[in-house]
Symmetry: C2
Subunit: 228 residues, 2 copies
């Protein structure tokens, strides 16, 4: 099994402040998992006793609404961590993390994380910053969901997906989502999402190649996302 000291994860996020010794301790106790597309890493309401480090692959964080609809709150990819909020707050997990493709994930037991939090103030501060930044993003999302029309939110979401996942060798946004998942991200009916995507294509702002989406005119999208 690979060693945390050499893991790409330690270049990212809060983990980059961990010492060699701490990483060795993680190595000794960690377990590596393969999560298949469609499976959950974490499930809303469950409690967890450790931190998940995403080595590779993409997943969606979702919340099931009282009306039974799925809302996608956030996308997560290699280099990100999951579960730290739940560890720190000692609350159950608030969101489902569902793999969008096969994933490689490491699980580090809660005890080791708490030890590092105690010993390494910089580590715990970075965890707090991570949560704090998420709160800031969430507040922005509330505002946009509440006040922007669906078309603007779609434009915003496409830009944000390219920002998060980058583009592949054909300049398409490098993530595969169903139209339903796009609809569940912006908070609209699947048919509406499909129609608005078609309109954007007709206007030459994006191109649709099967499920792949290519942004042709980023400025136009930015303008649409701001209501012009």
């Amino acid at each position: 099994m690979s060693n945390c000291s050499h893991c790409i994860m330690k270049r990212f996020n809060a983990l980059k402040t961990l010492t060699h010794d701490e990483l060795e301790r993680f190595s000794d106790h960690k377990t590596s998992l393969i999560i298949k597309k469609g499976e959950n890493i974490m499930t809303e309401g469950n409690s967890i006793n450790g931190l998940y480090c995403i080595q590779d692959g993409k997943c969606k964080l979702t919340k099931l609404n009282t009306n039974g609809k799925e809302q996608i709150i956030k996308f997560v990819k290699g280099g990100d961590i999951l579960g730290h909020r739940s560890i720190l707050s000692e609350e159950p997990v608030g969101l489902n993390a569902t793999a969008l493709e096969d994933m490689r994930v490491c699980f580090i037991p809660k005890g080791d994380i708490l030890d590092s939090i105690k010993d390494n103030p910089q580590f715990s501060l970075n965890l707090i910053r991570n949560i704090s930044l998420q709160l800031s993003h969430a507040n922005t999302a509330i505002s946009q969901m509440a006040q922007k029309p669906v078309k603007d939110r779609l434009a915003e979401t496409l830009l944000s997906l390219e920002e998060i996942f980058g583009v592949d060798n054909e300049d398409c946004i490098d993530v595969i989502l169903t139209r339903e998942e796009i609809a569940n991200t912006i908070g609209t009916a699947t048919e509406s999402a499909i129609r608005l995507l078609s309109n954007l294509k007709k206007d030459g702002v994006i191109d649709l190649l099967g499920k792949k989406i290519k942004i042709l005119n980023k400025n136009a999208l930015k303008n649409i996302s701001e209501g012009y």
Copy 2:
């Protein structure tokens, strides 16, 4: 000037874990402020160098959208604290805090807070939990804004306002908001909020006494908020 050791604040939130010595230190360095209705305690984008303890009065936390509309993210009242997110994350303030009525507020300099965070792990953990809980609420709000119709969101908001502020001696929700502020909370046009409030009154679910709102049938509101 009053002493933090005897302040009602210390019964609430993260502050309840502070020691007598810490509270004395706070007392020595704190400043008391009166914030008039309509004035800002904090302003979006500004940096702050301390923690605000709300002694008395109510305020709204808002975000200005790119389209110029105000979105109300959260309501805050006596016993709550403001600014800890910004202190911990070392980022500028993300929201405007605007007084809904005259307020009494204490300001405790950042240095004292950071000292307590370092010395008192329980205090810092409680701050994290506070932020973490806010994130959890924010995620729920995203989901509801995205997927629930305006009527449902209004019902939800009325219940939540009564939960937060309680009722006065006439059983009205104990906060005065304009129709525009209600609209900015649920994310709709002022006229729509007015119309839906009128409908709820016509249906006998609430009563409207000027700006005061009285919930007559909490169960009916709960059902509406869940789409029935």
